[in-house]
Structure formats: structure tokens, C-alpha cells
């Protein structure tokens, strides 16, 4: 950790957008003569400080225009910072744009050598890499066809395989994996993981894809309007980011559908009594006050075996004394990458001011892995409407505890890629004896 791949201190980058091409020329010839009115300043990055240890995998997330690409360009050394300190130690290879040096009329084979040459690899070194590139891209049957007949996915597969075939000290990846199927993008992520583990490559990965970010990165930087909004462990930051995106989405949708004046004032009156929820969305008329997990013997724990009983207990509190508030609950379990595994949706008829509810899973069908529990309290749920996504932040949401509680399932079946084991029976129709090799209960 004492050996940083790069150090960034108070980095600023301001782009000038000139109002006339003549000013642009003048800015180059004698910058001092440019009047302030000749350009608009675009603060792409302001006061960014980061210290990135060698071999770490950093994810950068943020909305469009938040300065992600500018940060990559600065790190890659192609753009000079306006002010601040930037020290990069290592050979940078950027995947800012895949397919540099590709020509549509060339065959895949010729393009491999051409693209390698642009990365400075020629001759025997290129020959040595060729077969590894082809086998990683899985394009053996197409390698002698011109790339113009390739599909976009195939093209990207070849380009990515080439770009990661050299072992750079610092690898910058900008949304490169968004093309291609899930299978291949997972393969790419694994490849980058291996690069980081085997060659101690430092990886900076810019993406909107939360699942791949959480899969790959060990630290996430959240950029907002050119400044760092938060840095921390992936799950924490990604949840915050996800939340802010959804909040904004809801705000936008709420603006489109004007509320009647009456409900508006009613809400505002009620909101004054809202329960505090630290950084949590919702009206706060009801809050989740505690969540715990236990097995059927009442043992509180976070590790469960497959097929074991699993209970989620949560307590809630409402502002209304004496009058029960309508309460509908979504209790979901999602995987660490955000994929929703299951959701239990129910209504509580006579909610109390303070209460406790148990959601019981008699047999955990989930396979080994880390899972997160999300609990959403609603006043109303639109189950039939268009808005029936897993969670919406609307005026009916009391409280949302999103992916905040983690538990672990252990005891993997032989095939670890399955998500869960659906109960199944196998019967030999000719009277053969059949034994299930991955039964749910491994007792």
C-alpha cells in the first residue's frame, strides 16, 4: 500500500469552449490576448484528490458529464491538468477506444497484428501472443475472414482480447465492456481480475454497469459534477449511487405527473412528523428500526447452509399513535452484484405503532454466495400498473432499507454457476436406480 501507482492531488481541469474558431487560433498563438468573453469555461474536474495503490482495482461511477472520461484522459497523460499534481508511475494502456488499428477489409488475423503494432508489439513478440488472443476471443473459425463480416460483439471480443493481451502496469477501461454478451463480459472481468492478481496491474474501470463494478472493483469513486462525491467499498458506494439515480428518476416522473393540491398539503402536514432515517428515502411516516436474521432455533447468525431454514426479522415504528397506517412490504433478497433473487410481497392489515414481522424461508434454495436483504415499506403499492418495478421511490414509500444487510449461504453444489436449486425429482422410467448428486439438504 506504500507504493502508489498514482497520486492525484487537488487536480483541476477546465476546458475552454471558444465562441469563434478565430479565438481558438489566438488562444494557441498568444493566450494572454484572449478576452474573458471569448470563451465559456467548462469545469470538467475540480479539486480531485486520489491516492491509488499499485495493483488495486478502482471503479469510477457517475452520471454522464461528471468528469469520468476527463479523469481517465488526465491519468493517461494525453491531457494536461489545468492545475494540481498528478504523478503516474507505470506504463499506461488505455482501452478508451477498442479497435484501434482495425481495418474492415483485413482478416481477423491481420487485424490482430495490426492492432498489436499500434501497441508497440511486433515480430516474434506478436507471434507469441497471437494464439492466446484468438483462443480468448473464441473466434477461431472466423479469424481468417475480414472483420467487416463480424458482428459488433465479435469485433469487440477480438478488440478486447488484443487490448488485454499485453500486461500493462496500469489499465484504463472506459465502458469498453458494455458491448458483447453477458458471457463474454464476465470473461473480460475475470481476465482483468487475473491481470490485477498475477501482474499487479492497476485497473481503473469506468462503467455504468453496477454489477460488473461490484464484481471487479475493490474501491469505487463516485464522481458528481466534476468532484468526488464519495469513495469507499463497492457495495456502500454503489447503493448510495443507485439510490441517488432512482431518486432523481422519481423526481423527474413526479414532475411529469402533477399531484392534486389537496394530497400535497396533506402530505406536507404529515411529513412534519416524519421519523428520522439517516440518508434514507421515503416519507418517514414509518421506519424500519431493526433487522436481524435467525434460524428456526432462534439462533441469530449470518451464515446459513443450503436447505436450512432462514428467517428475516424486522421491526418497524410508525408516527401514528392509535390509528393503524396502511402497510405494504416488499422484502427482497439480491445477490452481491445487484441481481434480485426473490421478493416476498405482503400487506400488514392492522399495523401497530411499533411492531415486528418475521419473513420465513423454510428451505434456503439459494446456492453459496453473499446475499443482501432489502426491505421496503409502502403506503400503497401499484402491483398491476406500469410502475411495478422492484422498488420505486414515490410519494407512497415510507422507508427503504436497500441491500444493507448481508448474509452468506454455504455448501456449494458441484455446479457452482447455478443461482439456486429448484426442487426436482428424477425417476428412471425403466426402473433404473437414480441418485440425485446435488440434493438440497446435504445431511
Amino acid at each position: 500500500m506504500s507504493d502508489p501507482a498514482f497520486v492525484i492531488e487537488n487536480l483541476n481541469k477546465t476546458y475552454r469552449v471558444y465562441k469563434h474558431p478565430l479565438f481558438q487560433l489566438l488562444s494557441f498563438l498568444c493566450p494572454k490576448m484572449i478576452p474573458q468573453s471569448a470563451y465559456a469555461e467548462n469545469h470538467a474536474l475540480s479539486d480531485v484528490s486520489l491516492n491509488i495503490p499499485r495493483g488495486s482495482k478502482i471503479g469510477i461511477i457517475g452520471k454522464n458529464g461528471s468528469g469520468k472520461s476527463t479523469l481517465l484522459k488526465l491519468i493517461s497523460g494525453r491531457v494536461q491538468p489545468t492545475s494540481g499534481k498528478l504523478k503516474v508511475d507505470g506504463r499506461v494502456n488505455a482501452l478508451l477506444e477498442l479497435g484501434t488499428g482495425f481495418h474492415p477489409e483485413f482478416t481477423g488475423r491481420e487485424n490482430v497484428f495490426s492492432a498489436l503494432a499500434y501497441m508497440g508489439v511486433v515480430g516474434k513478440a506478436a507471434q507469441d501472443k497471437f494464439s492466446a488472443i484468438v483462443s480468448f476471443s473464441e473466434l477461431e473459425t472466423f479469424i481468417d475472414q475480414p472483420v467487416r463480416v463480424y458482428s459488433t460483439g465479435m469485433y469487440m471480443r477480438l478488440a478486447f482480447s488484443i487490448a488485454t493481451s499485453i500486461e500493462p502496469e496500469i489499465l484504463l477501461v472506459d465502458e469498453a465492456l458494455s458491448v458483447g454478451d453477458t458471457y463474454f463480459s464476465n470473461k473480460c472481468l475475470d481476465k482483468m481480475k487475473h491481470l490485477s492478481e498475477d501482474s499487479n496491474t492497476t485497473i481503473i474501470y469506468v462503467s455504468h454497469n453496477m454489477s460488473s463494478l461490484s464484481h471487479l472493483c475493490d474501491r469505487i469513486v463516485w464522481l458528481d459534477k466534476g468532484a468526488i462525491k464519495a469513495v469507499g467499498n463497492p457495495i456502500e458506494i454503489l447503493n448510495l449511487y443507485d439510490l441517488s439515480v432512482r431518486e432523481e428518476e422519481e423526481k423527474r416522473m413526479a414532475a411529469l405527473v402533477p399531484q392534486s393540491a389537496k394530497t400535497q398539503t396533506e402530505k406536507e402536514g404529515a411529513l412534519s412528523e416524519a421519523l428520522p432515517g439517516v440518508n434514507r428515502p421515503g416519507t418517514g411516516l414509518m421506519r424500519v428500526t431493526g433487522v436481524s436474521f435467525e434460524d428456526d432455533r432462534g439462533q441469530k447468525k449470518h451464515h446459513y447452509g443450503r436447505g436450512e431454514a432462514f428467517n428475516i426479522l424486522f421491526s418497524y415504528r410508525s408516527v401514528a399513535a392509535g390509528r393503524p397506517l396502511p402497510l405494504k412490504v416488499i422484502c427482497g433478497i439480491s445477490r452481491s452484484d445487484g441481481l434480485l433473487m426473490t421478493a416476498t410481497i405482503f400487506e400488514v392489515a392492522q399495523s401497530q405503532q411499533e411492531g415486528k414481522i418475521k419473513v420465513r424461508f423454510p428451505e434456503l434454495l439459494l446456492n453459496a454466495g453473499n446475499y443482501f436483504v432489502t426491505i421496503l415499506l409502502y403506503e400503497q403499492l401499484d402491483l398491476e400498473g406500469k410502475n411495478n418495478r422492484f422498488y420505486v421511490i414515490d410519494q407512497f414509500l415510507y422507508d427503504a432499507v436497500i441491500r444493507a444487510f448481508e448474509f452468506k449461504v454455504e455448501g456449494s453444489p458441484p455446479i457452482e454457476t447455478t443461482l439456486f436449486n429448484h426442487p426436482s425429482e428424477v425417476v428412471g422410467q425403466g426402473g433404473e436406480a437414480v441418485t440425485l448428486l446435488n440434493p438440497l439438504r446435504t445431511v
Binding site: Y15, R16, P21, L22, Q24, L25, F28, K73, S76, G77, R78, V79, Q80, G90, R91, V92, N93, A94, L96, E97, T100, G101, H103, E105, F106, E110, F113, S114, A117, Y118, M119, G120, V121, V122, G123, A125, P146, I166, E167, E169, L172
Partner: protein
């Protein structure tokens, strides 16, 4: 593993620069080869266009001069005149093509600029080299024509010297104009017009001796005048050894090359600000 500008912490600074230079050169030649193949990839005749194009072009030109216009110059034979024109035309076309391609080398290769591994300095070099390969094919065709017509009386040892000097001149100019055309796009159009104008004030269809007096004076400011005179001597002999022209080229070309190099080195980090 061969990677441009790779950082090897153990080697000395000097060794590293040399190492990187040789690797860059090797990579550059490879890339030039690739780009030429790319240019003709997918065409029926492929790389033979490299020679076919100047051959057909010059034959057509000669046909127009000798058969259609029936141009006669008293002191030169028919073929002699055609070859004299070609010795002007081929260098002019080479010069003009290299500059036209070169001025766009950065703006049409923005993806290479953004790719961190390839040094920006080499992008215009690659384009100039590609153009110079086509130029040398045209020169080969011209040499073959001169040989076939039995007019070769020159000093062929001058050929590589002129070629290298002109390449250096073009490279220096291209480094500057390709950068400037990123800052101000109009440079491209101005350059194209200037090259068109240059065709008329260069001794292409005439020898300096035939030109009116005022034009003869202007020729001294025209870099093509020196190149063309040198090429004519190199292929066709005739006049006395052009020592003055050679000296001027030997001074001007390295100076322009150096100016372009330092201009680009100093400013290349500003490039992406304007893209």
C-alpha cells in the same frame, strides 16, 4: 515484450531512449507496411496499384502532350520534353500528396491520439511515410521510363539524397500544419489552394530558363524549384552540377525538419484540448 516507451526501471536513461527509438522505428515501419496494405485491401489488383497508378497516369499524360497537343520544344526531343515535364510533375505530385494527407493525419486519426500507447509524434510521420512510399513507386516508374527511352544520363547517386531531403522537408511542414489544422480547420483548405497555386509557379511544364524574368526570381523562394532541378539533373543530366540547389536543400530541409519537430514536441500535449 516490446512496448513503446515501456518503463524498465533497471536500464539506464540513455539506453532506454535508444531502445525506445529502435523499437519505435521498427514499429513504425511495420505500421507503414500495414497501412499501405490497408489502402489497397479488398481491391482486385491490390498492391500492384502502387505502380500501376503512376504508370497509367504518366502514360496518359505523355499521350496528351505528344499526340493530342503535339507540343514541340526546339532544344529538346519529344521524349526529352516529356521526361523533363515528368521530372517536375512527379516531385510536385509527391510533395502535394504528402502534404494533403499529412495535414489531415491528426484530425483523421483522433482515435490514435486518444489511445495512450502510440506516441502522437509518430502519427504524422506514419502518414508522410505512407505517402512517400507511393512517391518512390512513382519515381521508380519514372526511372524505368527514362531507362527505356535511353535518356538516362544523370547521377543516380543523387536520387536517395534528394528523396531523404525532401522527406525531411515535408515532415517538418506536416508536423506544423497537421497540428495547426487541429486548432484551426481552415488551414487544410488554405493549404490545398496554396498547393494548387504552387503547381503554376513551379517549373513543372517549363524549365527555369524558359520562364519570364520575374518568375525566375520568385523561383528562389519555391522549395519545389530546387527539388525539381535536382531531379532533372539526377535523371537527365544536361546542365552543370546543381551545387547551389543542393546546398540550399541541405540547409533548409534539416532546419524545417528540426523546427517542425520542436514545435510538435512542445505543443503535442495541447492536442486533445482542441479535438
Amino acid at each position: 515484450m516490446a512496448v513503446l516507451y515501456s518503463r524498465d526501471r533497471t536500464s539506464s536513461e540513455q539506453g532506454r531512449i535508444l531502445d525506445s527509438f529502435f523499437r519505435s522505428t521498427r514499429v513504425l515501419f511495420y505500421l507503414v507496411r500495414i497501412e499501405i496494405r490497408q489502402k489497397y485491401a479488398g481491391s482486385l489488383l491490390g498492391m500492384s496499384w502502387l505502380f500501376l497508378y503512376p504508370l497509367v497516369f504518366l502514360t496518359f499524360y505523355a499521350g496528351v502532350y505528344l499526340v493530342v497537343f503535339k507540343v514541340r520544344i526546339p532544344e529538346l526531343s519529344n521524349w526529352g520534353y516529356v521526361l523533363t515535364v515528368f521530372c517536375g510533375l512527379v516531385p510536385y505530385l509527391g510533395f502535394s500528396d504528402a502534404l494533403q494527407q499529412g495535414v489531415q493525419s491528426l484530425s483523421s486519426n483522433v482515435n490514435l491520439l486518444k489511445n495512450t500507447v502510440f506516441p502522437p509524434l509518430l502519427i504524422p510521420v506514419k502518414t508522410v511515410f505512407v505517402s512517400q512510399v507511393a512517391h518512390s513507386a512513382a519515381l521508380t516508374v519514372l526511372l524505368a521510363m527514362t531507362l527505356a527511352s535511353g535518356k538516362l544520363h544523370g547521377a543516380l547517386w543523387l536520387l536517395p539524397v534528394i528523396f531523404i531531403l525532401q522527406t525531411a522537408l515535408i515532415q517538418g511542414v506536416v508536423w506544423i500544419v497537421s497540428f495547426l489544422s487541429i486548432v484551426l480547420k481552415d488551414i487544410q483548405y488554405v493549404l490545398n489552394l496554396a498547393l494548387f497555386f504552387l503547381l503554376f509557379i513551379s517549373p513543372v511544364a517549363f524549365t527555369p530558363g524558359m520562364a519570364p524574368h520575374f518568375l525566375q526570381k520568385m523561383l528562389h523562394f519555391n522549395p519545389l524549384h530546387y527539388t525539381i532541378t535536382l531531379y532533372r539533373y539526377c535523371f537527365l543530366g544536361a546542365n552543370q552540377f546543381p551545387a547551389f540547389e543542393l546546398t540550399v536543400m541541405a540547409v533548409i530541409c534539416p532546419v524545417v525538419f528540426g523546427l517542425g519537430y520542436f514545435f510538435f514536441k512542445k505543443n503535442h500535449k495541447l492536442l486533445l484540448e482542441y479535438v
